[in-house]
Symmetry: C2
């Protein structure tokens, strides 16, 4: 199948590598000549261009663009997508993107592969990013069966696990499990790096180990992604932060009041609960 | 050298494997017959016993016990350590342990290898746990040069990097970079698993991905460790939580007030700062 990928960053580039590996013909669009050169050298697609017209023979177009470009698509992009192509995106929020793109293209279906690293850009993609990943589809009453079927087949071929839900439920769930960790991680980094005692800060830099690295990882991710999520999933993220604060307040209270048995019980419970997620 | 290790859990067991690998003769003490059997099968030490008298010919004794047993050592343990042995511990707080053990044994030196997983117990240790780890030494004015020199040599032979500081500065630094992440991670797990909308919670369970797994990892660790840290590093941890809350409040405020440029700047800054830690 001829597949167009608009944007060859972490997600688009990894998809380009994977889909070529599955013998599809991949047409990749980059936003600059210099990115085109890097993408070509890395063979992220069979054909790579800055010209959106490269999409004209594609049966599927995957929009692997930053959220801000998905909620505010350029007229050139809209014009370049063939009427007969099935269209999806890989954005990590769904409601605003689906609302806009359902009006633009009758064969649009929102999707979101749950995979990532803290890297971004045309050098970030790699073949195995999606191995065993979950891939969310958010069809609505307007979505064509054809779009669901074709995209589902492709996702299964990539050995990902499909999970179907509504755009709204998607955005509420990821606000807690994906977006909240960004602001938690960033707050941890600030806690460890700000203060008046410079020798203590130097010691923290030296001692920081895997626990700090893991807890702060997504907090040190692409800042433009964090911004796009905050702008476009604002209410859900604020709700998640509020909930999180009530829980850390509870831990703080137990420690202040030295309620050690309750604290142990609570930590045991979170340990057991975490296993259910993984 | 004859080295005694009291406790063959994650840290003690890994040390036992590593020190045997470096051709030391390791004498391991377990707290039960069943643990002794597992430890023996896993060859965590050359000689393994529940009897503390196994330590009598050791030139170095490493106390790899839970913090609660280090700050409240049994009379049997104290009696079993040879007067001529150098003694260290591997506890993840230092001030209360150093204060107690300096009074018990003239050759004591506090130490803390910065390595771990969320596993615990006699099945958890493995040979390469300490590869490239930092290992903190917290000598005081009472610490003998002999203890510092011998332990330093051993740490370097294990290919770990020595970092020297005071017990107090150690405890303040780790309260932020190691202990705070436990309560952050646990609060994240609670945020994602509690609520009235069961279908949304089920979706969160299904969608949770590497971002959630990493940010919550230490929050799902050994609950007894979390308790011991809270009990024995209470003031520093409360200080760290307070600082963290002020930072997450700032992020929340920026999102509420839609100060997107400031938010981007802050996220860019935390991303850059995180790189300094790793």
């Amino acid at each position: 199948m001829n597949i167009g990928i608009v944007g060859l960053g972490l997600i688009g580039g990894s998809l380009g590598l994977k889909l070529q590996h599955l013998n599809h013909k991949v047409f990749g669009v980059t936003n600059s000549i210099s990115n085109k050169q890097i993408a070509s050298k890395r063979k992220l697609a069979n054909f790579i261009s800055c010209d959106l017209n490269i999409l004209e023979k594609c049966s599927l177009v995957i929009l692997a663009l930053p959220i801000k470009d998905l909620v505010n698509p350029s007229p050139e992009l809209i014009a370049a997508i063939p009427d007969t192509a099935i269209v999806t995106d890989v954005g990590s929020i769904k409601t605003p993107i689906v609302n806009i793109w359902e009006k633009i293209h009758p064969l649009f279906i929102g999707s979101h592969p749950m995979a990532g690293t803290e890297k971004k850009g045309v050098k970030a993609g790699y073949l195995n990013l999606f191995d065993n990943a979950k891939w969310i589809l958010t069809p609505t009453k307007n979505t064509s069966k054809k779009s669901i079927d074709l995209l589902s087949k492709l996702i299964i071929a990539m050995k990902c696990k499909i999970c179907e839900t509504t755009p709204n439920n998607h955005d509420r769930a990821v606000s807690v499990i994906s977006h909240l960790p960004i602001f938690i991680g960033a707050s941890l980094i600030k806690s460890a790096s700000e203060g008046e005692n410079q020798s203590l800060l130097n010691l923290s830099y030296e001692l920081a180990s895997t626990g700090f690295a893991d807890t702060s990882r997504v907090g040190g991710g692409n800042p433009y992604l964090g911004l796009d999520l905050a702008r476009n999933n604002q209410q859900n993220i604020l709700e998640a932060i509020k909930m999180f604060k009530s829980h850390i307040n509870e831990f703080e209270k137990l420690i202040i009041e030295q309620k050690w048995e309750l604290l142990l019980e609570k930590l045991q419970h979170t340990k057991d609960t975490r296993n259910l997620f993984l």
